[in-house]
Symmetry: C2
Subunit: 348 residues, 2 copies
């Protein structure tokens, strides 16, 4: 079982998870499987993964067999598992608890050759819908305080398998950066009685120079104090604290916006490795007024970010306004011509 | 001039520095210069760098000419510069200020072929002494609140030149992670009236399982809630808040401890890319009671750390106790045989 350990100085929790059993000699050796017949995420190989917890599939097909077009499984090497106790144990000055939680993989398509941005709007909508289905299910478990959904695309972004997938981790604690966001948003709300994200969106639309695109219900923009070049956020204009709060019709628009944004990134940066992280409020309604859900997309193009996560001090070599203009000016429809056939993501 | 921008949600400041003038097509193209005659940090090429601000050199030699054995210069592409105003300007909901500060490069040796860990104890002591000299000089400038000293070793750690060097950035704001540490340390101090770092060191020595080595005045240990495999901290046992507070004789012992620790990392992980960051208190005496200076060394061996800096949620696949034991058991004297001749650091 993995262990959650709390740093006594900063209060940050870390998951110590040794299920992959890494020895020092094995770091950096990613499992990359470019042969579809050997890929555990490809149809026909369902038996090489844990059983599915959700699948969207044709009516005639059987669970854990071919015939699905989207499949959610438990991670074979979970960082957190559902057994264990919630109680915190002291260890001298330190704190630990059992690594309870859920760690799932959303296999976004049956097709090994297509990335998320290659999928049709309907297929991307299914991916978002799967995020919703799994969130609604997992938030019934009252041990989970946060449901973190993210995607690692490309080896430099931490992907260990090439077949397009995203991940979900349900945790008994709230991630550090979400706590920071909540604390900042609460201070603003206490002072202004308004959501800080709503006010940011208003200012971004009115200044327009950092907006990549206005999609009607959503905008994509490069944050004013971006940590990384071409960091881009996708944000709903309407105030809502959870991804699962959006209307059923809205998933269509979100799928369109996400596809367009990812394709603009692909054309701008020649198919970069990237992470996206869905920032929703913690489980429950406590933060509904102050928190505004959004998606942060971070291309992994600079290894220059050397000491940054050791100091919290970021140096961004590109003006956010320039990143935004570049992404505004590219033609996202070029992306599928350029990258639609599987291209191995650049690892750096 | 670069610009400091404040993220209105988390309060984190970011340096927007475009002096390197990167266009999207140029990311990932590090300047690597393996030919010493073309290396700007090699003796004879002094004119291709900004003039030195400090050099340790033979008595007969001239400034900005050959004959030095350690040289400190302004960074040719500084993230921050000394001209500009300290005043904050609002921009709607945002805040910015001029990117004032200093950004210097410590060229640790005249010899292109040797890394920091290859240097003699006396040479490493000189490097530490240069950190001290530059810190004492820069903290006279009352605009600077923090002096950040760090080293990027290897391309994966963000080094853009191979010739062994470290960097110093003096900033008008305190880095985010230092603020977090101060806040945590202050809470502990308010409750216990003791330094949290001192108490951690006591517990680590008594439990011993995460200690790599006890050097007498210093210990190296793998933190209980390490974010990364083989993360290792080098900490003075005696309470002091700044590197520059240590006694003149103590630099010798610190040099020995640093060399031993880096060599243990090299042998354990086959000459990994790494960052080290010297965590000292902000300039001035305000934090003397609560803050305890230390060096954090982070090998860059996992690209698995994908979404981590987007969520603050770290998954460490190696138990800190196992990392510590591995580093305890290796023979650091092997390092120079294995890596003493210049080996190109692994880029992943």
């Amino acid at each position: 079982m993995s262990e959650l350990r709390r740093d006594p100085i900063t209060g940050r929790w870390v998951i110590i998870s040794t299920v992959r059993g890494k020895r020092p000699s094995s770091f950096g050796n990613m499992v990359r499987q470019e042969e579809p017949h050997l890929c555990p995420f490809c149809p026909g190989n369902e038996s090489s993964t844990p059983p599915e917890v959700l699948a969207y599939r044709s009516d005639q097909s059987q669970p854990n067999k071919k015939g699905w077009f989207l499949r959610v499984i438990s991670n074979k090497y979970p960082a957190l598992t559902i057994e264990g106790s919630l109680s915190r144990e002291p260890k001298g000055i330190y704190d630990k608890m059992d690594g309870i939680g859920a760690h799932e993989v959303i296999i976004e398509t049956a097709d090994h050759a297509r990335d998320l941005a290659d999928l049709s709007i309907d297929e991307i909508k299914n991916v978002l819908w799967a995020f919703r289905d799994r969130t609604l299910d997992l938030q019934k478990d009252h041990r989970f305080k946060y449901i973190l959904i993210f995607k690692n695309h490309g080896e430099a972004a931490g992907a260990s398998l090439e077949h397009s997938h995203s991940q979900l981790i349900a945790t008994p604690i709230i991630p550090h950066i979400v706590i920071e966001e909540i604390n900042g948003a609460r201070k603003y709300f206490n002072f202004k009685e308004r959501c800080i994200f709503c006010d940011i969106i208003r200012q971004e639309i009115s200044e327009s120079e950092r907006v990549v695109r206005d999609y009607g219900d959503f905008i994509s923009y490069v944050p004013y104090a971006s940590r990384f070049p071409f960091e881009v956020w996708l944000v709903p204009k309407q105030h809502m604290s959870h991804l699962v709060d959006i209307g059923i019709d809205t998933y269509q628009y979100l799928a369109e916006a996400l596809k367009d944004t990812l394709n603009r990134l692909r054309v701008s940066l020649n198919n970069p490795a990237f992470n996206f992280i869905i920032h929703s409020a913690p489980v429950g309604g406590e933060y509904n007024e102050i928190y505004h859900w959004h998606i942060e997309i971070i291309p992994r193009i600079t290894s220059v970010a050397g000491f940054e996560w050791g100091s919290g001090f970021y140096i961004n070599p590109t003006r956010p306004e320039d990143s935004a203009q570049f992404m505004r000016d590219v033609d996202p429809s070029q992306a599928e011509k350029m990258f639609g056939a599987k291209v191995v993501p650049k690892s750096k």
